[in-house]
């Protein structure tokens, strides 16, 4: 098993005909992901990369049975694209787009309330269940199937972690990039719940960073609800306060946003903390030996 995506995933790509959309759709197909539809308004009826393109998500879902959407829509139109997918009843939306206005995401979250859609991202690398499905922009080759779940606010730091795991012979059940935005569709807690319930996941690696309180909320969840071991690293120990470190969500605006506070909360919850980002794989290995 795995979480969110697997070999039953039938992927639809929103913005399939754009340059990033094309490049990464091709990579997903090469990985073995079943890409069944693309949506670009105005290009319905054509084919792109051998995939049928539709004008609307509703039609694409009706004709292809797509059950997950991967989004490459530019930021000014991305919230509208997410709303369209929610309205069509899409079970899973993975939004790669970076730079969506915060108040647009406020509307998206309001519209999500009471609906069954799960949103991953925006501003994320996507979701990957090695050997089964790649719904994102991550490097496919560095992943191998296995029993460690990975959840992260970062993209490239996740590749770093996954390659450390793989080189130590530790495979992954699913890797989830929840994204670097301030209002992510899914939080650490949302994904930890899924990993806790997934029988093939034996341990979880959590990659946090400065800003917000998502790591503290995760710590609270872990101490009360998780029986599986969790390994964590929090990036940004050296980040100055008040400066936005690339990600919209990575800004220290109060003591809770500091890496040290997050690390404190996570260790109190029994999480194994990797002392440096280069030792996340090593720390995971030690934890797995104890299981």
């Amino acid at each position: 098993m795995s979480i969110l995506v697997d070999d039953s995933t039938r992927l639809l790509v929103q913005g399939i005909t754009g340059s990033e959309g094309s490049f990464h759709t091709q990579r997903c197909i090469e990985y073995g992901t079943k890409v069944v539809a693309g949506v670009t308004p105005g290009k319905g009826g054509s084919k792109h990369l051998g995939v049928p393109v539709f004008n609307t998500i509703e039609k694409a879902m009706a004709e292809t049975g797509a059950n997950a959407s991967l989004m490459f829509v530019p930021p000014a139109f991305a919230a509208d694209g997410i709303l369209e997918a929610i309205d069509a009843g899409m079970p899973l939306i993975v939004c790669i787009t970076e730079g969506i206005p915060v108040l647009d995401m406020v509307k998206v979250h309001r519209y999500l309330k009471g609906k069954s859609t799960r949103l991953i991202g925006p501003n994320c690398p996507g979701v990957m269940s090695p050997g089964k499905c790649k719904a994102g922009i991550m490097v496919g080759e560095i992943h191998v199937p296995g029993n460690v779940g990975v959840v992260s606010r970062s993209g490239t730091l996740t590749y770093e972690v996954v390659s450390q795991l793989t080189s130590l012979g530790i495979g992954q059940s699913t890797c989830v990039g929840i994204g670097g935005d301030a209002l992510p569709g899914s939080t650490f807690v949302d994904i930890l719940k899924l990993f806790q319930a997934d029988e093939d996941t034996k341990a979880v690696v959590l990659i946090g960073e400065i800003g917000g309180t998502m790591e503290q909320e995760a710590a609270e969840f872990i101490s009360h609800n998780m029986t599986k071991p969790v390994v964590a690293f929090v990036a940004g120990s050296t980040a100055p306060p008040g400066k936005r470190m690339g990600h919209a969500g990575a800004i220290i605006t109060g003591s809770a946003g500091k890496a040290s506070e997050k690390i404190k909360a996570l260790s109190r919850a029994g999480v194994a903390i990797a002392p440096t980002p280069a030792e996340i794989g090593f720390t995971t290995n030690k934890v797995l030996e104890r299981v």
Partner: protein
């Protein structure tokens, strides 16, 4: 609506964060504007502000004081907070004193607890009528990261840091979560206004002010709108004595008017330079190792690792995922422009960004400028072989790192070597 708000409270209560004073933080903001600009926007939106005008010369400040009245307040216009304690706000009794106070501020650098020791330059002062203050209150709006809703916060305790109020007297902070589908409602205004101990006609007046502030917040895509203090004058009027507006960077594309308000003088020169060269994710740090990384999380982790290895990064630099060589070349221009640079670490894990493009950019940079410092390069990910081939074929001299840790260790060594 009521039901929705209720669930929000219950959910927060379960998580135990409703009482967490530090949970309420600005989301996504970066662009700041001056107080006088924020007050102009307030006036446009019907939020009462004291009479004031901005001056960029001492004589100009004197003239405004003549116009406004004898007793005025001279306020240094800087982005940093903590002006009052730092001597950036002066109360004067006549135009002559106004001119003198302005001459002390204009052209000087103001050092507050929020600035570094070098302070920030003052090039303008706001000359404002002195208000007879009976009460100081607090009002703000930001987007709450847990409920995903704008939240308006009000307190009868104003004029001090709201984080301190949240810690010492959390029961004096009142909040209304705003449903974006229907906007700010009068009942929410009443709840907050009674919480601030208003009564009589002030309840309606405060509610109107809050409604207008929410309209401004949404219209202009603010990340923070804060009035601290909001005052009640001796004759019972409400006035925004201070005004702070920050804006969501991601939404600036639809607000040309706000973009134009930005005062580059108030920002770090290297960060302005980076932006002019198309590098948006650059933050100056206090070390001497230049860093070029793809991805914000990885870039932060690289800086952490450098410190762990005994060095200090000169900057945070995420080149992002745009696949062109220009941004790589410009990153090197930044390292050359920064006199502190002793060594450079390039750490790229290609995903959306392609390693071959980065490698081509590095070679171009070497061709265009004399790199006077050792460069450590670690490459991994998409199109790695092609990238390595480009670097090898170019014949440029650099220190190759095998992995992340190796790169940090080698660049720290190189920087120490360069300092000898």
């Amino acid at each position: 609506m009521v039901a929705v708000l209720k669930t929000v409270f219950v959910r927060l209560g379960e998580r135990g964060f409703e009482s967490h004073p530090l949970r309420f933080k600005e989301q996504g903001g970066k662009l700041k504007i001056h107080e006088y600009q924020a007050k102009a926007l307030f006036a446009q939106y019907g939020i009462p502000v004291p009479r004031s005008k901005v001056a960029s010369t001492p004589a100009g400040a004197g003239d405004i004081a003549v116009e406004i009245g004898d007793k005025v307040v001279i306020k240094a216009q800087v982005y940093a907070g903590g002006r009052g304690k730092a001597g950036g706000i002066k109360i004067v009794n006549n135009p002559k004193e106004a001119e003198r106070a302005a001459s002390q501020l204009i052209g000087a650098r103001l050092v507050t607890h929020q600035t570094g020791a070098e302070g920030v330059p003052v090039s303008k002062v706001l000359v404002e009528e002195a208000s007879n203050v009976a009460r100081e209150l607090y009002l703000s709006i930001l987007v709450d990261g847990t409920s995903h809703l704008p939240v308006m916060m009000a307190s009868e305790v104003g004029g001090m840091d709201i984080e301190e109020v949240a810690q010492s007297t959390p029961e004096k902070i009142f909040r209304s979560y705003i449903d974006p589908a229907i906007g700010f409602q009068p009942f929410q205004g009443r709840k907050l206004a009674y919480g601030m101990n208003f009564d009589g006609a002030q309840i309606g007046e405060a509610t109107r002010l809050m409604t207008n502030l929410y309209k401004l917040f949404v219209d202009k895509d603010c990340s923070l709108a804060e009035i601290n203090p909001l005052v009640v004058t001796a004759d019972g009027r409400l006035l925004a004595l201070d005004a702070k507006l920050n804006f969501d960077d991601n939404a600036l594309y639809r607000h040309k008017d706000i973009q134009e308000l930005q005062d580059k003088e108030q920002e770090e020169p290297l960060e302005i330079q980076a932006r002019d060269w198309g590098i948006y994710n650059y933050v100056k740090m206090d070390g001497n190792i230049g860093c070029m990384v793809n991805g914000a999380g990885l870039a932060m982790a690289v800086n952490d690792l450098i410190q762990h290895c005994g060095g200090r990064a000169a900057n945070f630099l995420d080149i992002g995922t745009l696949n062109n060589t220009e941004r790589v070349v410009n990153s090197f221009r930044m390292f050359v422009a920064d006199p502190r640079t002793k060594a450079v670490l390039v750490n790229i894990f290609g995903g959306m960004a392609r390693v071959d493009v980065i490698a081509r950019g590095i070679v171009e940079a070497y061709q265009q400028m004399d790199t006077l410092f050792p460069v450590v390069i670690r490459l991994a990910g998409t199109n790695l072989e092609e990238g390595q081939r480009i670097l090898a074929d170019s014949g440029i001299s650099f220190i190759r790192a095998n992995d992340f840790y190796d790169g940090a260790r080698k660049v720290v060594e190189a920087a120490k070597g360069a300092m000898k």
